[in-house]
C-alpha cells in the first residue's frame, strides 16, 4: 500500500513540523529586520503631494492611531515606529521610496501603500525581497493572488465585487432592465465596469445600452447625463468619484430622469456627496457599503463609532472626521495591530504573512454589522462582502443580507 503509507508519512511529517514550529514560536523570540524587543518598524507610502494628495489623510490617520497604540503600551510591549514617505502618486517615486524603506530604513513590512499604479510598480520588488506588502490601499482585483504574489495582500473589498453585487441584484429584481453606465476613464472605472459585465454574464451585451466615460479633467458631466437619459435607460450605474457623483445626482433630478440609480461605494458618503447634491434629489438611490458612515445619524450611539470619534478628538483633532479617508485609515490600522498582536514574539516576515492570512471573523468596529474579515492561505481578500443600502430621508437604510462576491485575481 505505497499510497497509504505515503499519506501517513506525509501526515506525520506535517504533524512533526507543526509541533516543531509551535514549540519554537512559544519558546523563543524570533525577529526579522525591522523588529526588536522594543520596536516594530512599519513602512508606508502615501501621496501627501500631487494629484491624489486628498488620500494623504489616510496615512496621517494611521500615524495618529499608532501613536495611540504606543501611548497605551504598544503591541506585546513593542512600540510601533511608523515611517511614512510621500510618492506624489508617481510610480518611479514609489519604487524609490519602497527601496528606501526596505534597504535603508530596514522596515519589517510596508503597510497600506496607496494607489493601483504605485503598488503595481513595487509588487515584484517586494515579492522578490520577500517583504510583506500588507493591506494595500487600492480596490483593484489583482492583489488577491497568493500563488504568484504571496507577499502582497489587499484590504478593502475590490471594485469588481461591488458591481457584481449590483448585477446580481439587477438580474433578480429587474431582469429586463436597460442599463446606462457612467464611469471614470481609468483603472478604477474600468475595474467596476468589468465587475458589472462579469456579473451580468451573457446578458451584459443586451442589457447595457450605453457605456459612457468621462475624464477627471472635465469640469462638469452634465452632457453625459443628458446623453444617458436619451437612451431611455431605466437603470443608471453611477461609477464616479464624489465631486462628479454629486453633479450627476443633481442633474438627473433637474432633467426629470427617474432611473433606478446605483451609486458606487466610493461616493456613498452622506457628508461629501448626498448632502451637497440635496437629500430630496437622492431618495431611493441604491449603494453598497462595508464601513459605517460618520455622517450617518444612525450610528450616533454606536460603540464603535464613539470609539472612533474619541480617537479623532484626542489624537487627530485637525483631521476631518467626515472625510472617508480617516475611517478607512482607522479600520486598516486596527487590522494591522490585530495581525501584529497575533504574531506574538515571532516577528518574522513569514509569520506576519501567515498571521495576516489566518484572520478568522475579525471585526474592527467601524465595519458594518455582519461584515467580517476572513483570510486564508488561498484567500488574500480580507473584506469581501458588502451590504446593499437604499437612501431614505437623511440616511442609508441597509437592506437584504450581507452579500459576498469574491472576484478572483
Amino acid at each position: 500500500m505505497p499510497a497509504v503509507t505515503g499519506k501517513i508519512a506525509a501526515a506525520s511529517l506535517a504533524l512533526a513540523l507543526f509541533a516543531a514550529t509551535t514549540s519554537t514560536a512559544s519558546a523563543q523570540k524570533k525577529y526579522d529586520t525591522g523588529a526588536t524587543d522594543t520596536e516594530i518598524k512599519i513602512g508606508n507610502i502615501m501621496p501627501y503631494s500631487g494629484p491624489a494628495s486628498a488620500y494623504g489623510v489616510i496615512g496621517r490617520t494611521e500615524a495618529a492611531y499608532f501613536k495611540k497604540v504606543n501611548d497605551e503600551g504598544g503591541i506585546n510591549g513593542r512600540k510601533i515606529n511608523f515611517v511614512s514617505y510621500d510618492d506624489a502618486y508617481s510610480p518611479p517615486k514609489t519604487v524609490e521610496q519602497a527601496r528606501k524603506l526596505v534597504e535603508s530604513d530596514e522596515v519589517l513590512l510596508i503597510f497600506n501603500s496607496l494607489g493601483t499604479p504605485p503598488n503595481s510598480a513595487i509588487q515584484k520588488y517586494m515579492n522578490s525581497k520577500k517583504v510583506p506588502q500588507l493591506f494595500v490601499a487600492t480596490g483593484a482585483t489583482k492583489w488577491n493572488d497568493p500563488q504568484n504574489f504571496p507577499w502582497t495582500m489587499g484590504w478593502q473589498p475590490n471594485y469588481q465585487s461591488e458591481t457584481q453585487i449590483y448585477a446580481k441584484y439587477i438580474m433578480k429584481a429587474m431582469p429586463n432592465a436597460k442599463i446606462g453606465v457612467l464611469y471614470q476613464n481609468d483603472d478604477y472605472g474600468k475595474d467596476y465596469l468589468k465587475g458589472l459585465k462579469d456579473g451580468l454574464g451573457a446578458k451584459a451585451a443586451s442589457m447595457i445600452v450605453l457605456e459612457e466615460s468621462y475624464e477627471t479633467s472635465e469640469p462638469t458631466i452634465d452632457n453625459h447625463i443628458v446623453k444617458l437619459k436619451a437612451t431611455g435607460a431605466d437603470v443608471f450605474i453611477n461609477i464616479t468619484t464624489p465631486k462628479f457623483a454629486a453633479q450627476a445626482i443633481k442633474k438627473i433630478s433637474e432633467i426629470g430622469w427617474k432611473p433606478t440609480h446605483f451609486l458606487n461605494n466610493v461616493s456613498a458618503s452622506v457628508g461629501s456627496v448626498i448632502k451637497p447634491a440635496g437629500f430630496e434629489n437622492s431618495q431611493d438611490i441604491i449603494s453598497a457599503a462595508y464601513l459605517k458612515d460618520v455622517s450617518d445619524p444612525q450610528w450616533k450611539d454606536d460603540a464603535g463609532m464613539k470609539a472612533f470619534l474619541e480617537f479623532m478628538t484626542k489624537y487627530f483633532p485637525e483631521g476631518d472626521k467626515l472625510d472617508g479617508g480617516t475611517i478607512v485609515g482607522y479600520g486598516v490600522a486596527q487590522t494591522l495591530v490585530e495581525v501584529l498582536k497575533k504574531c506574538g514574539d515571532d516577528l518574522t516576515r513569514a509569520n506576519v504573512m501567515k498571521q495576516a492570512a489566518s484572520l478568522k471573523d475579525f471585526r474592527t468596529e467601524v465595519l458594518l454589522p455582519g461584515i467580517k474579515i476572513n483570510t486564508g492561505p488561498n484567500d488574500f481578500a480580507p473584506i469581501s462582502s458588502l451590504q446593499l443600502m437604499k437612501f431614505k430621508g437623511e440616511k442609508w437604510d441597509l437592506f437584504g443580507d450581507v452579500i459576498s462576491a469574491d472576484a478572483g485575481g
Binding site: 501627501y48 503631494s49 519604487v95 499604479p117 510598480a121
Partner: protein, 339 residues
C-alpha cells in the same frame, strides 16, 4: 564684467548666449568626476546605487533638454512625452518580443528621434512661449494616449507593464543594481561625449547661431528649418534613451509615471543646473531627485511649500544655477593661483 553680468545686461534674449567653450567641464575635472562615479558604488548600499542610477537617467533627460534649449534656443515642456515613448518602446520590446534590454535602447533612440523630428516640423512655425505651449499639449496628451483602448493590448492601459530587471552578464559577481548602474554609466558617458562633440561640431555651431539670431544664421547659409527639427530629433532621441533606462531601472511603466509633472521637473532641473551648461544637467537631476526628499523630511504636510521655498532661494541666490557656482569657483581658484 563676469559672464553672469553679461547675461543680465542682455536680458532681452529668451535664452542666454553661452559660448560653446563654457558649455563643458575641463578634461581634468571630467575625469575626476568619472573616477568618483566609477568607484563610489563599490562602497555603498544597493539603495544608494539605485538612486545614483536614477540620477544618471534624469541627468540624461535634462541633458537632452539642455541641448534643445541651451543649444538651439527652443523651449520644450513636452520632454515627458519622449521619455514615455522611450520607456514604453523598451518595455514592450522586452516583455512581448523578448528582445535583450541593451538592444532596445538604440531602438528607443531611433523611434524617439523620428518622433521628435516629426514633431519638430510643425513646431517650426512656433517660437518661444508658443512652442512651449505646443509641447506642453504633447505632455498632457501622452498619458491619455497610452490608455487608449486599441493600444491597451500593448501598453497594459492604466495598469502599466512590469519589466524584468536584467542580471549582470558573463556571470559577473555583482548585484543587478550595480550592473545596471555601470550599464547606465557607460550609456551616459557615451551620450555625454557625443553631445559635447555635437555642440562643438558644425551642427552645434549652427544650433547656436540659430539660438543667438535666427536671421543672421540663415543669411550665413544655415538651413534653419533643418537644424531646428534636427535639434528636436536629437533631444527626443536622448530623452528616449533615458526613458528606456528608467523603465529598466524602475521595472515598471504606467501612464501615471509620465505626467506633465515629469516634464516640469526636467525643465526645472535644466534651469537649476544652468541653461546651456551640460555638466549642470546632472546637478539639476540631483536637485529634482533629492530636494523633494529633503523638503519632505522638513515638513510632511508642507513638503510642496518647502520645496517651493528652496527653489525660490536657488533662483534668487544663483539665478544661473550650478553654472554660476562653477564659474565663481573657477574665479576663486584663479585668484588663489595668482596669489
Amino acid at each position: 564684467m563676469s559672464a553672469a553680468e553679461e547675461v543680465v545686461a542682455e536680458g532681452h534674449q529668451a535664452v542666454e548666449a553661452v559660448p560653446k567653450r563654457a558649455m563643458t567641464l575641463g578634461t581634468g575635472t571630467s575625469l575626476l568626476v568619472l573616477a568618483v562615479l566609477l568607484v563610489v558604488p563599490v562602497f555603498v548600499k544597493n539603495f544608494i546605487i539605485f538612486q545614483m542610477t536614477m540620477l544618471l537617467i534624469y541627468g540624461l533627460a535634462v541633458l537632452a533638454l539642455n541641448i534643445l534649449t541651451g543649444g538651439s534656443g527652443q523651449f520644450s515642456l513636452g520632454q515627458s512625452a519622449f521619455y514615455a515613448v522611450g520607456a514604453y518602446t523598451s518595455a514592450v520590446l522586452m516583455e512581448y518580443f523578448n528582445v535583450n534590454y541593451a538592444l532596445t535602447i538604440p531602438v528607443s533612440a531611433a523611434v524617439c528621434f523620428g518622433f521628435g523630428y516629426l514633431f519638430g516640423k510643425p513646431a517650426l512655425r512656433l517660437s518661444g512661449v508658443y512652442l512651449a505651449l505646443a509641447t506642453f499639449a504633447l505632455a498632457t496628451a501622452m498619458p491619455q494616449l497610452l490608455k487608449l483602448n486599441f493600444l491597451e493590448h500593448w501598453t497594459g492601459g492604466v495598469q502599466g507593464l512590469v519589466v524584468t530587471k536584467p542580471d549582470a552578464p558573463f556571470g559577473l559577481p555583482m548585484s543587478q543594481d550595480m550592473w545596471l548602474y555601470y550599464f547606465t554609466l557607460i550609456v551616459t558617458v557615451a551620450i555625454y561625449v557625443f553631445s559635447v562633440n555635437l555642440l562643438r561640431s558644425r551642427s552645434g555651431r549652427a544650433f547656436m547661431a540659430i539660438r543667438d539670431n535666427e536671421i543672421a544664421a540663415s543669411s550665413m547659409g544655415v538651413n534653419v528649418a533643418l537644424y531646428k527639427t534636427l535639434a528636436f530629433g536629437v533631444s527626443a532621441g536622448i530623452t528616449g534613451v533615458a526613458g528606456s533606462l528608467g523603465a529598466i531601472a524602475v521595472q515598471f511603466v504606467a501612464p501615471d509615471s509620465y505626467t506633465i509633472t515629469l516634464a516640469i521637473s526636467l525643465f526645472l532641473g535644466m534651469v537649476v543646473g544652468g541653461v546651456g551648461w551640460l555638466p549642470g544637467s546632472f546637478v539639476g537631476a540631483a536637485f529634482i531627485i533629492f530636494v523633494p526628499n529633503m523638503a519632505e523630511s522638513i515638513s510632511k504636510g508642507l513638503s510642496g511649500a518647502v520645496f517651493g521655498v528652496l527653489l525660490f532661494l536657488v533662483i534668487y541666490l544663483v539665478p544661473h544655477g550650478a553654472r554660476q557656482i562653477a564659474i565663481l569657483g573657477q574665479q576663486f581658484a584663479g585668484k588663489l593661483r595668482r596669489n
